[in-house]
C-alpha cells in the first residue's frame, strides 16, 4: 500500500508517462541561454556587474510577488478558469506600497511602515482566502478584491505620487551585500525558503496533491481548503512585501502601478513551468523566470528595441512557453 503511494508523494506527476526527462526538459534552459547569449554579444554592458545587479533588483519585485502567486497555483491547480489564480496580487502590491509611503510620510519608522503595508496586504489575502474557501471561484473572488485594492489605493493616495525619504528606504535601495543588492537577497531568501517548504516538506507535497487532484487528496484525508486559504494569505503578504520594495526602489508610491505589474507577475509564475521537468509551477522556477524576464526587458532596452516591441515580445514569449507546455502535454496523453 505504502509502496504504491510513495512515488506519487515523491513527485506529484501529471502523467505517468512523463517520467522520462528527455530533451524537452532542457528546452527551457536552452532557449533562455540562447537569448542571454544574444544579449551578451549584442551589448557589451549586458554582462557587467552593475547591470546584473540592476537586473536582479528589477526581478525581485516580480519574483517575490510571483512566488506568492505560484503557491496559489500550486494549491489551486493550474487550470486558470476553475483553479487557483490571484488577480489581486498587483493591486495589493500597489496598495501596500501606498500604505507604506503614507505611514512613512506620517513619521512612522521605516520598518514599522513596511509592516503596516504588509498587514493591509495580508488582510486582503484573508478576504481572498475566505471567499475561495466559501466556494467562490478564485478568478471572480480575486477580480473583486483587485477592484477593491486598486480603489483603496486611489482613495488613500488621492491619485498623487507619494514620495518617501529617510535613511531606511535609502538603505533598502542602495545597500549591497556580496555584490548583490538587498532586494535581490530578499528574493533569493524567499525563493530558497519556498523551495524548501514546497519541495521538501509534507506541507508542500500536500499542496501539490490538493492542486493536482483535489478529490484524491480529499480521499487521502487532506482538506484542500486549508492549503488554499494559506496560499492566498501568503500570496497577498508577499505581494505586499514586493510593493514596499517597489516603493523603496522608486523612492515613491506611484498610483496605478499595480495593474502594470500584474501581467508580469502572472507571466513569471506561469513561466516557471518551463523549468520543471513535469511542467509544474514551482517556486524556484518562478524566481528563475523573474530573473529571465527582467533580463529580457533589460537586454531588449540595451539593444535599442523600442518599448512598444518589448510588450509584444513578452506576449509572444508567454505564448511560446504555453504552446511548448501544451504540446508536450498532448504527446503524453
Amino acid at each position: 500500500m505504502s509502496a504504491a503511494i510513495a512515488p506519487a508523494n515523491e513527485a506529484p506527476a501529471r502523467s505517468a508517462q512523463g517520467r522520462k526527462p528527455g530533451l524537452a526538459a532542457w528546452i527551457g534552459y536552452a532557449g533562455i541561454g540562447a537569448v542571454l547569449l544574444l544579449f551578451a554579444f549584442g551589448s557589451p554592458f549586458f554582462l557587467t556587474a552593475s547591470n546584473i545587479a540592476t537586473i536582479l533588483t528589477q526581478a525581485s519585485v516580480f519574483g517575490i510577488a510571483g512566488v506568492g502567486l505560484a503557491t496559489v497555483i500550486i494549491a489551486g491547480g493550474d487550470d486558470v478558469l476553475n483553479g487557483g489564480i490571484d488577480l489581486s496580487t498587483g493591486a495589493v502590491a500597489g496598495l501596500s506600497g501606498t500604505v507604506t509611503a503614507l505611514a512613512a510620510a506620517a513619521g512612522a519608522p521605516g520598518l514599522v511602515s513596511v509592516l503596516y503595508g504588509v498587514l493591509v496586504a495580508t488582510a486582503i489575502g484573508i478576504v481572498n482566502g475566505l471567499s475561495v474557501t466559501l466556494g467562490l471561484r478564485p478568478l471572480l473572488a480575486t477580480l473583486a478584491t483587485m477592484g477593491v485594492a486598486a480603489s483603496l489605493e486611489l482613495v488613500f493616495s488621492q491619485n498623487l505620487k507619494i514620495a518617501v525619504s529617510g535613511s531606511f528606504f535609502e538603505a533598502a535601495r542602495a545597500s549591497v551585500f556580496l555584490g548583490i543588492p538587498l532586494a535581490a537577497w530578499l528574493m533569493i531568501i524567499i525563493g530558497a525558503l519556498g523551495w524548501w517548504v514546497y519541495g521538501k516538506t509534507s506541507w508542500g507535497v500536500n499542496s501539490y496533491a490538493v492542486g493536482q487532484n483535489p478529490t484524491a487528496a480529499q480521499v487521502a484525508g487532506l482538506d484542500p481548503r486549508r492549503y488554499r486559504l494559506a496560499s492566498y494569505v501568503l500570496s497577498s503578504a508577499l505581494a505586499g512585501l514586493a510593493g514596499t520594495l517597489l516603493v523603496a526602489r522608486l523612492s515613491a508610491a506611484v498610483p496605478g502601478i499595480g495593474m502594470q505589474i500584474l501581467l508580469d507577475i502572472i507571466l513569471v509564475a506561469y513561466m516557471s513551468m518551463i523549468f520543471s521537468r513535469r511542467r509544474l509551477v514551482s517556486v524556484v522556477g518562478t524566481v528563475l523566470a523573474a530573473v529571465f524576464v527582467a533580463a529580457l526587458d533589460n537586454g531588449l532596452t540595451l539593444l535599442g528595441v523600442a518599448s512598444q516591441w518589448v510588450g509584444a515580445a513578452k506576449g509572444l514569449l508567454i505564448l511560446l512557453v504555453l504552446a511548448s507546455v501544451t504540446l508536450r502535454g498532448r504527446k503524453n496523453r
Partner: protein, 368 residues
C-alpha cells in the same frame, strides 16, 4: 452539471456533492437567484432616497446611454463564457475596431467601409484567439491574456507610439456619426444598437439549435463530442462572434467620441466579467445568459451614476463596485448551497482541521 458551477469552483469541497447537487435540482426555488435582482432594487431604492434627481426618467434614460457600450462588450463575453471559455482580449478587439473605423473615416472612406473595416480588424483578434485556444490548445485565460499584451503593442505600433486619432466633426459622414450619436424617437443610437444586439444574441442562445449546441459544448465538452457535435467549430464561432461584437462596440465608441484613444477598451474588461458572472447568479443552473448579464451591467451603471449624484469622488466608485460584486457573488454562493451539503467556511474549516489532526494522529499510531 452542478448548479452552482459557473460561480463556485468545480472541485467541490464536500464529499457528498453528487447527492447534494441532485437535491438542489429537486428543490423548488433557490434564494440565491434573487440576490442580483434584489441588489438592483436595493441600489434603486437607496439612491432614490439619497438623491432627488436619481429616479427621474431623464437620468435613468441617460444611464442606459452610459452603459450601452459595456452592455455590448458584456454580451460578447457572455457568448464565450457560455461556450466554456473566457476572453481577456475583448478590450483589444474593441480598440482595434475603433482604431480601424476611425482611421478609415479619417482617410475619407465611406461609412460602411469604416464599419466593415472595424469589424474585420476585430475579427482578426477573434481568429488569433480561436487559433491559440482551439488549435494550439492553450488555456483560454492565458491565451487571451497574451493577446491582450500583444494587442496593446500592436495598437502602439499602428498609432506610432500611441497617438490618438481625432476626427473633426464636420468631416465625419452622417452615416457613421449616426451609429454612436444619432437619435431615433428620442432614444440614443448606442442604446438601440446594444438593445438590438442583445435581443439577437439572446434569441441565438435561447431558442436556436446553435445556442443549445454551444451550451452543451461549454458545459459538457466530452459528452457533446461523443454525441457528435463539432465542438471545435462551436468554440471557434463563439470567440469570433465575441470579437465582432466587441469590435462593433469599438465602432460605436469611435462614432460616439469622434475619434480613437489607444487602450480605452481595457477599461470595460473587468466590469464586463463582473456583469457576466453576476448574471450567472440568477440562473438555476448557474448558467450565464444575456438577460442576467444585462442586469449586471445595469447594476454597475446605476451604482456609478448614483455615486456620482451623491457627490462621492471617482476614487470610491471602484471600491463600491468591487464590494458590491464580491457581496453579490458571495451571497449567491452561500445561499445557493443546499442544506444536505456539509457547512463550509471558517468554522467548518477549523472543525475539519481539528478532525483531521485527530485522524492523522490515529493513523500515525496505527502505522507504528
Amino acid at each position: 452539471m452542478n448548479p452552482a458551477q459557473t460561480l463556485a469552483a468545480p472541485p467541490a469541497p464536500a464529499p457528498g456533492s453528487p447527492t447534494a447537487s441532485s437535491a438542489k435540482k429537486r428543490g423548488a426555488f433557490q434564494t440565491s437567484r434573487l440576490v442580483a435582482p434584489g441588489t438592483l432594487a436595493l441600489i434603486l431604492i437607496v439612491f432614490s432616497v439619497l438623491s432627488p434627481v436619481f429616479f427621474s426618467a431623464g437620468n435613468l434614460v441617460g444611464i442606459l446611454g452610459q452603459v450601452a457600450l459595456l452592455a455590448l462588450v458584456a454580451i460578447g463575453l457572455t457568448l464565450v463564457v457560455r461556450a466554456g471559455g473566457i476572453d481577456l482580449s475583448i478590450g483589444v478587439a474593441l480598440d482595434l475596431g475603433a482604431l480601424a473605423s476611425a482611421w478609415l473615416i479619417h482617410d475619407g472612406y465611406r461609412a460602411w467601409v469604416a464599419v466593415a473595416g472595424g469589424l474585420l480588424f476585430a475579427l482578426a483578434v477573434g481568429l488569433v484567439n480561436a487559433l491559440l485556444i482551439v488549435v494550439l490548445r492553450i488555456p483560454a485565460f492565458l491565451a487571451t491574456l497574451s493577446v491582450w499584451f500583444v494587442g496593446t503593442s500592436v495598437q502602439q505600433l499602428l498609432t506610432s507610439g500611441g497617438a490618438p486619432i481625432y476626427l473633426s466633426a464636420p468631416l465625419v459622414p452622417d452615416g457613421f456619426a449616426v451609429i454612436g450619436r444619432g437619435y431615433f424617437l428620442d432614444v440614443d443610437a448606442a442604446v438601440i444598437n446594444a438593445a438590438s444586439i442583445a435581443v439577437a444574441v439572446a434569441l441565438l442562445l435561447g431558442i436556436t439549435r446553435y445556442g443549445r449546441k454551444l451550451t452543451m459544448a461549454g458545459e459538457q465538452p466530452s459528452a457533446a463530442k461523443i454525441s457528435g457535435l463539432r465542438i471545435n467549430a462551436l468554440i471557434i464561432s463563439a470567440y469570433l462572434l465575441c470579437a465582432v461584437i466587441a469590435g462593433f462596440a469599438g465602432v460605436v465608441l469611435a462614432a460616439r467620441s469622434n475619434g480613437y484613444v489607444p487602450g480605452s477598451g481595457q477599461a470595460y474588461l473587468m466590469d464586463a466579467i463582473g456583469a457576466v458572472f453576476i448574471g450567472a447568479t440568477i440562473s438555476r443552473y448557474g448558467r450565464v445568459s444575456v438577460g442576467g448579464t444585462l442586469i449586471g451591467v445595469v447594476i454597475f451603471g446605476l451604482l456609478d451614476n448614483g455615486l456620482n449624484l451623491i457627490g462621492l469622488s471617482f476614487f470610491w466608485q471602484d471600491l463600491a463596485r468591487g464590494l458590491v460584486l464580491l457581496a453579490i457573488l458571495l451571497a449567491a454562493v452561500v445561499l445557493g448551497r443546499s442544506k444536505g451539503q456539509p457547512a463550509t467556511g471558517i468554522f467548518a474549516l477549523l472543525r475539519t482541521a481539528q478532525r483531521q489532526a485527530q485522524s492523522t494522529t490515529v493513523k500515525g499510531s496505527t502505522r507504528q
